[in-house]
């Protein structure tokens, strides 16, 4: 294999050469970030960007059970070499080659330094039933002299946390008998690090091997740590003495994980496995074992094709869990760190067939046995499926539990898995002739798979609407997919074949007839030109009905590849689904980023059909493109290629949809497609001169299809994004909202439409969630003095159906983990039968008109940044920021780090480091922004650290507040003056005070003389021109006061606009003064831009204070006057707009707090949602945003009890996520009003 670096150069050269052409095709190039190795118990990976192993996942799968996250314990581990006294760790030496040893899962890395060539091999031994990673190093001298030593460094993090444990509380101890270190920590697991062959020295914290080698020293033969310490590391040293030029020597070591707290048993098992073998023997034995397992490529395959065939087999093997427990046998859709290291039924079927057909029948059998043995108990989605079943409707947790992914559109329930399982079972039985297992399994297979599938067949022959291959969820998104029916036809005919083998001719006939009906029904899904459409409903909607997955009707041997339907379908795919890269095919026309990437699975399956239909050259081109890409990427096939650059995106290495699909394509190449149901669906023969004119529409079939399905509910069909992938759309909507970009108002709860999606930036990150729900934890503790027996949680994701997800009682605290796609959901707890709000929730979301708790689910596949520590002193800010990988556990790309310091609206770039150290800071307010990405380019939400440098730390109790009506304080800028408004009393008209005037007052020092620390100004939003009637109905008033907003995000030009407000804030901050914005959340003026665009965000009502409309009992529904409609906080879109506006004002003007207007007149959702939105973004460094409010109450001159409700209503809106305090209305009436009067004697 060519070196990775050479490949990069090659790709760059091609890109330059190709640039002038408008039709330039993307060229093969290296872009996959990790080269993993696995023995089915753990998965480790060599990081191509970091030149070292920094991934060691405790299980191959992502999640053993709901809520569990497999942990990556490796911070990093790598070899070093020393010649004489010159030492170098090899993580600092760029490899000249990274590859898999052909036909194996052994990673091979070659580097040169210090006159040596160093070969490194990393692998998890396949025949060692332990969680071990072996590293063998071979040193060959090319020049020079001097004694050679090889070093190992093991830096595993065994502290607390998941999926990336910290380095806290680690202990290391040396065991001389076994030439091994043991390490343990708060993670609860232990590691052993031992030598293969005897080591010469060993070292550990406190004498960190890293520094010892750098200093040219020997390791210090440490005995370990004396007490738990942060970030303990260790290593071995192997003295190879003086190697002659062109001579070689070996060293080796291992790390082994033990799930218990003591590594010794695992260390002993590894030592037994190694026995007396030298490192080179261990390596050659491992290579030999792999090669004896691997099957040869079919004849006619090229060298590159054969190599990829071998690596693909290895990938299938490494993706299979081999743990000797309930997880055993399952095949993951991707090998970690690829994010889909989860077992999908569909992907696993393609893998199982590929294994069976390459002669790996033992592995195929274990895969089938896993599914037949999985603890489904009839399945959790029987209400959808209609009867007990044994194949998960989507995928499995590591432990074998069924795992759908549920979002606001309901669960994914996929019926294609039943057919695909039967197809895989047939492939296994055909390859193995294992009738014994078939006989054993049939009593489960028949009732719980084959008969279940038959029962899902409708009278049209189509399988009932489902979520299918692209996982469209439910709640009206389910469709009658061609793919599902094709899989069913293939599977039912396989079942007929298997029943025949068992001598059950009656059932064989039944399944064959059902399979043939399904086969023939596919012809009813054709569009006018003969193309097989995605689904009945998509075709009916008339848009975005083209779906590459429909080609499986051809590949599965149902539709004749030589006849019109196959050719029309291929022609539509070839004309309609080519991405801008010019390479391969997209999955459908939905327009979403996931829809529009190139899919390797689609390439392989379409390529197969193209060849069989007679298009040999396009098929060969497609195939060689993918082989070339994989060859440049270490033999790894990806889930996706970027639609423009063809960079690897999605998950890699992809298995069923990558390696498995490739293996099947190569095996099938050159062979005709044979009918799987005795014959192809009946079509007329193609004329020999078939051309476009010959493609007559098959109107009869169309008619049949629509008639046959007349009873099914219409679907939003073509308005969805092709597959309707709602979880992705939710993510997009959420992302736009969070970034505050534009005025995106997509309701995260309902997805969005195709046109909105089409407006998404084409350079949006492709790495994304597709059905990737994120475990969301709900916790409920009954109030003290009470208890609960049964608690569950239900929400928009399951249409509030009771009881929803049961919460587990652990010593009185109830917990549930619910998988949810990113978005904002309404939900409630059901406590012993009573629906109630979640006391821990910090937002409220209405569903219909009903108030619920709200939960915001972030995209767990994105990494995040967290403030780990911080120190603020005069002139100095220091902080450490942690990078927390996403669920796919992709590590930090250090080159992506940027930090930017903002002060007074001016940005200064700072060091590219997560260790922040800013000195020489003048007093004032600062915001530091930290940005980073992981190695797949997933961007963490920027971390915003707001802090003040000042002589005395500020506390909001220090804030004597000065309130000014800006129009009445001072006219600082005559340019924005306006003349008198006709017919308006001057007292109620503009006085031309402005923000420039406020700034001048601040700078004059008058407020400092008063001891003012906080400034509250009337609202900034632009108010209407002209005058409106006062509450007396007679006199006219203008919007000089600011409480009649007509713009969401504009500073009134009469106040001086945005620049003037920034001037106020800048001067205030220079005087140590905080600025509060007056935020009107109750109403808008009738001229408001939002009212015109979204009339449904507002409501009318009776006028507060009029007959039968008092201020108290109608406080939430009365309007102040007829030209001030109320914001309807029950509308989620309106709520989200107000939240994002609040964040926008804070961000744009560096504000310090809010005074919320008319708190008494708005539902809890208003204050909670705004408070949460702002606090979540601006309080990450602990600088408190001050929120005070106006719950205008009275006071009665009687005892405390008769004023109780006044106090209680004011107190109601005060809390950690809501208001810090409020104006003390009762106290105003009780004291100053009395002191003002001579007569009161109190």
């Amino acid at each position: 294999m060519v070196s990775a670096l050479a490949l990069k150069t090659y790709a760059l050269l091609l890109a330059v050469l190709a640039a002038p052409s408008a039709f330039a095709l993307a060229e093969p190039h290296q872009s996959t970030p990790f080269v993993p190795t696995s023995n089915g118990r753990i998965t480790a990976a060599f990081d191509v960007a970091q030149d070292k192993v920094d991934f060691f996942l405790e299980h191959p799968y992502q999640s053993a059970s709901p809520g569990a996250q497999s942990r990556n314990f490796a911070y990093d581990t790598y070899p070093g070499v020393r010649v004489g006294t010159s030492g170098s760790w090899l993580s600092a030496v760029t490899p000249s080659l990274v590859e898999y040893v052909s036909g194996t899962g052994i990673v091979h890395v070659v580097r040169a330094t210090l006159g040596l060539t160093i070969d490194e091999w990393d692998f998890a031994p396949m025949n060692l039933a332990r969680c071990a990673l072996f590293t063998i190093v071979k040193v060959t001298r090319t020049s020079g002299t001097g004694a050679v030593d090889v070093f190992s460094l093991d830096n595993y993090h065994l502290g607390s946390g998941a999926p990336s444990p910290g380095a806290d509380g680690e202990s290391i101890a040396w065991n001389a008998t076994r030439d091994a270190f043991y390490e343990w920590g708060p993670s609860g697991v232990a590691f052993g690090y031992g030598a293969i062959g005897a080591s010469s020295f060993h070292g550990s914290t406190p004498n960190n091997p890293y520094q010892r080698l750098v200093a040219g020293q020997d390791l210090a033969n440490d005995s370990g740590t004396s007490s738990p310490t942060t970030d303990a590391v260790c290593g071995h040293q192997f003295s190879l003495s003086n190697i002659a030029t062109n001579a070689s020597a070996y060293a080796g070591w291992y790390s082994v994980l033990d799930a218990g707290a003591d590594a010794q048993a695992s260390v002993d098992a590894v030592r037994t496995f190694i026995a007396s073998r030298a490192p080179d023997q261990v390596l050659s034995d491992e290579i030999a074992a792999w090669k004896s397992w691997s099957s040869a490529a079919p004849s006619g395959a090229s060298v590159l094709e054969s190599s990829l065939f071998a690596t693909s087999q290895a990938m299938l093997r490494m993706a299979q869990v081999n743990a000797g427990d309930a997880s055993d046998g399952q095949i993951l859709a991707a090998v970690a760190p690829g994010q889909w290291n989860i077992t999908w039924v569909r992907d696993m079927a393609y893998s199982t067939v590929a294994l069976a057909r390459t002669g790996h029948t033992a592995e195929a059998k274990r895969a089938l046995a896993f599914e037949l043995g999985a603890p489904l108990a009839g399945g959790a989605y029987q209400s959808y499926v209609g009867s007990p079943y044994q194949i998960s409707v989507v995928r499995y947790y590591g432990g074998g539990a069924e795992w759908s992914d549920v979002d606001s559109n309901g669960p994914n329930v996929e019926f294609d898995g039943f057919g695909l399982f039967l197809w895989a079972l047939e492939a296994y039985v055909d390859a193995s002739n294992d009738k014994t297992s078939l006989t054993t399994w049939w009593p489960t297979v028949q009732p719980k798979i084959a008969d279940v599938l038959a029962s899902l067949q409708e009278t049209s022959g189509l399988i009932a609407a489902d979520s299918s291959i692209w996982e469209v969820h439910w709640n009206g998104n389910q469709k009658h997919f061609a793919y599902t029916t094709a899989a069913a036809a293939r599977g039912l005919c396989a079942a007929a074949h298997l029943a025949t083998k068992l001598g059950d001719t009656a059932d064989a006939s039944k399944y064959l007839a059902a399979g043939q009906r399904a086969r023939d029904a596919i012809l009813g899904l054709r569009a006018a030109d003969g193309t097989i459409a995605q689904a009945t409903e998509s075709l009916g909607a008339g848009t975005a009905w083209l779906d590459a997955a429909a080609i499986e009707a051809v590949s599965f041997g149902l539709v004749d590849p030589k006849k019109h339907t196959a050719k029309a379908t291929l022609a539509s795919i070839q004309s309609g689904l080519v991405p801008p890269s010019g390479r391969g095919f997209m999955r459908n026309q939905g327009g979403g980023v996931y829809d529009s990437a190139e899919w390797i699975f689609v390439d392989m399956r379409v390529g197969r059909a193209l060849e069989a239909s007679g298009q040999a050259q396009p098929s060969a081109d497609l195939f060689s493109w993918n082989v070339a890409q994989a060859s440049d990427n270490f033999g790894i096939l990806s889930e996706l290629h970027d639609r423009v650059t063809a960079d690897y995106t999605g998950a890699a290495p992809m298995v069923g949809f990558g390696a498995g699909a490739y293996v099947l394509s190569l095996l099938d190449r050159g062979a005709p497609i044979v009918p799987s149901c005795d014959a192809f669906a009946a079509e007329p023969d193609e004329p020999s001169d078939a051309g476009p004119d010959a493609m007559t529409p098959d109107a009869g079939s169309m008619q049949d299809a629509s008639n046959s399905d007349a009873g099914s509910a219409p679907s939003s069909g073509g308005c969805m994004i092709g597959d309707g992938s709602p979880s992705w759309l939710l993510f997009l909507a959420f992302f736009l909202m969070r970034c505050g970009g534009g005025t995106s108002t997509s309701d995260a709860g309902t997805g969005t439409d195709a046109s909105t999606n089409g407006d998404a930036p084409t350079d949006a990150p492709v790495i994304d969630v597709d059905g990737g729900a994120c475990e969301t934890t709900f916790v409920y503790t009954p109030p003290s003095g009470t208890s609960a027996t049964t608690v569950s949680v239900a929400g928009e994701w399951n249409a509030f159906s009771s009881p929803g997800v049961a919460m587990t009682n652990d010593n009185g605290t109830f917990t549930a983990k619910v998988p949810l796609a990113p978005g904002w959901y309404a939900y409630k707890l059901i406590v012993d039968g009573t629906w109630q709000l979640d006391p821990l929730s910090t937002t409220r979301k209405y569903a219909g008109a009903i108030e619920n708790s709200g939960v915001t689910v972030s995209d767990c596949y994105l990494p995040s940044l967290a403030l780990a520590s911080q120190a603020i002193t005069l002139g100095h800010y220091a902080a450490h920021v942690s990078f927390v990988p996403g669920a796919a556990q992709t590590q930090l790309d250090p080159s992506s780090i940027t930090t930017t310091l903002r002060k007074d609206f001016s940005d200064t770039p700072k060091a590219s480091s997560l260790d922040i150290d800013l000195a020489g800071l003048a007093n004032g307010k600062y915001t530091l922004f930290v940005n980073a990405k992981d190695r797949l380019g997933r961007t963490a939400e920027p971390l915003r650290l707001v802090f003040w440098i000042e002589d005395d730390a500020f506390d909001w109790r220090d804030s004597l507040i000065y309130m000014a009506v800006t129009d009445r304080l001072k006219n600082g800028d005559p340019k924005n003056d306006v003349g008198p408004t006709s017919s308006v009393d001057a007292r109620a008209d503009f006085h031309n005070g402005d923000l420039a005037g406020v700034q001048q007052v601040i700078e004059s020092g008058s407020l400092d003389q008063l001891g003012i620390r906080t400034l509250w100004l009337t609202p900034f939003n632009t108010n209407p021109k002209g005058a409106y009637l006062d509450s007396d109905g007679v006199d006219l008033v203008t919007g000089y006061h600011g409480y009649w907003p007509i713009k969401g995000r504009e500073v009134d030009p009469r106040l001086g606009g945005a620049a003037a407000l920034q001037g106020v804030v800048k001067s205030a901050h220079a005087h140590g003064m905080r600025v509060l914005m007056d935020f009107v959340v109750h109403h808008v003026h009738q001229d408001h831009e939002y009212l015109a665009a979204h009339p449904d965000w507002f409501h009318e009502g009776c006028i507060c204070g009029t007959n039968n409309c008092d201020w108290d009992s109608h406080r939430l529904d009365c309007v102040f006057t007829n030209y001030l409609p109320n914001i309807d906080w029950t509308v989620p879109d309106a709520s989200q707009q107000m939240q994002s506006d609040a964040v926008w004002w804070f961000d744009t003007f560096d504000l310090d707090g809010f005074r919320v207007d008319a708190v008494k007149q708005v539902p809890d959702a208003a204050v909670m949602n705004i408070g949460t939105a702002v606090r979540r973004e601006f309080e990450k460094s602990g600088t408190r945003v001050f929120m005070t409010g106006e719950t205008a109450m009275g006071w009665s001159d009687c005892d405390l009890s008769c004023n109780k409700w006044q106090y209680d209503l004011i107190s109601h809106s005060i809390g950690p996520w809501t208001l810090d305090g409020q104006f003390d209305f009762p106290l105003y009436y009780a004291v100053p009003m009395q002191v003002s009067r001579a007569t009161h004697t109190g």
Binding site: D955, W956, R957, D958, S959, L960, I961, Y962, M963, A964, R968, L969, K970, D985, R987, H991, V1001, S1006, Q1009, L1010, G1011, I1012, R1013, T1014, W1016, D1030, D1032, V1034, D1035, H1041, F1186, T1188, A1192, L1200, N1203, Y1207, I1210, S1211, I1214, G1215, L1219, D1220, G1221, Q1222, F1223, D1224, L1227, Y1228, A1230, V1231, P1232, M1233, Q1234, V1235, S1236, R1237, A1238, H1240, T1241, G1242
Partner: protein, 216 residues
């Protein structure tokens, strides 16, 4: 001032722990303090028959007493623009006159008021207990209130206000919890006479509508 003392404490009892309330003596929705005092019957009028400016000094003296109470309160007290010198005006829109705080034409009463409010503000800025301390009842009768703000024993400020038109002699003992030793001299942050704790008792003379902020 038993009443004022009681309702100040009530705020401490009734609102959630840790809340930062904002007491105030006037806002954009209330008539100006001096107008409520000078023209109680017309202060609420909006468009016609509106209240004019005070014609005596007493409303300003009462305002200074109220400001002394306000700037001694816990929380984040709010000063409505213009109240620092005694802007006048009845109900909205009369309570929103253009600010004259930087004008050379403030009346003598307004200048006196501004000078006192500045002293109160500086006292609050300089004495931590006055900003962050808990409210502790010390003494109240019909005429006078004395309350303490206490952050910790010895870290204390006393606020004394006379709401009457005559001088008041107040003699009161200090709760031992304040941690002030007998013989300690208490200095008035407003520049008035200092006082001394003798036999755990402070004797204080407050001028008509007068005030003191005493701290060790």
């Amino acid at each position: 001032m038993i009443h004022a003392d009681y309702w100040s404490q009530a705020s401490g009892w009734e609102y959630p722990n840790g809340s930062i309330m904002s007491p105030y003596i006037g806002s954009q929705d209330t008539p100006r303090f001096v107008t409520i005092t000078s023209s109680p019957s017309t202060a609420g009028n909006k468009w016609t028959n509106i209240a004019g400016p005070p014609t005596t000094s007493e409303p300003y003296a009462r305002l200074r007493a109220a400001m002394s109470w306000l700037l001694g309160q816990p929380g984040a007290p709010m000063i409505y623009y213009g109240d620092e010198y005694g802007e006048w005006g009845g109900a909205d829109p009369n309570n929103r006159a253009s600010w004259r705080g930087d004008s050379s034409s403030l009346s003598a009463d307004e200048q006196t008021t501004l000078a006192l409010v500045r002293k109160l503000g500086q006292a609050r800025k300089n004495i931590v207990a006055l900003r962050r301390g808990a409210y502790v009842h010390v003494f109240a009768n019909e005429m006078v209130v004395v309350f303490a703000r206490v952050t910790s024993a010895g870290d204390v400020a006393l606020v004394a206000v006379n709401r009457t038109s005559s001088s008041q002699l107040a003699a009161f003992s200090l709760p031992p919890s304040l941690g002030i030793a007998d013989g300690t001299t208490l200095t008035d942050a407003l520049g008035g006479a200092s006082a001394k704790l003798v036999g755990q008792t402070v004797t204080l003379t407050l001028a008509p509508w007068g005030q003191a902020i005493l701290a060790p």
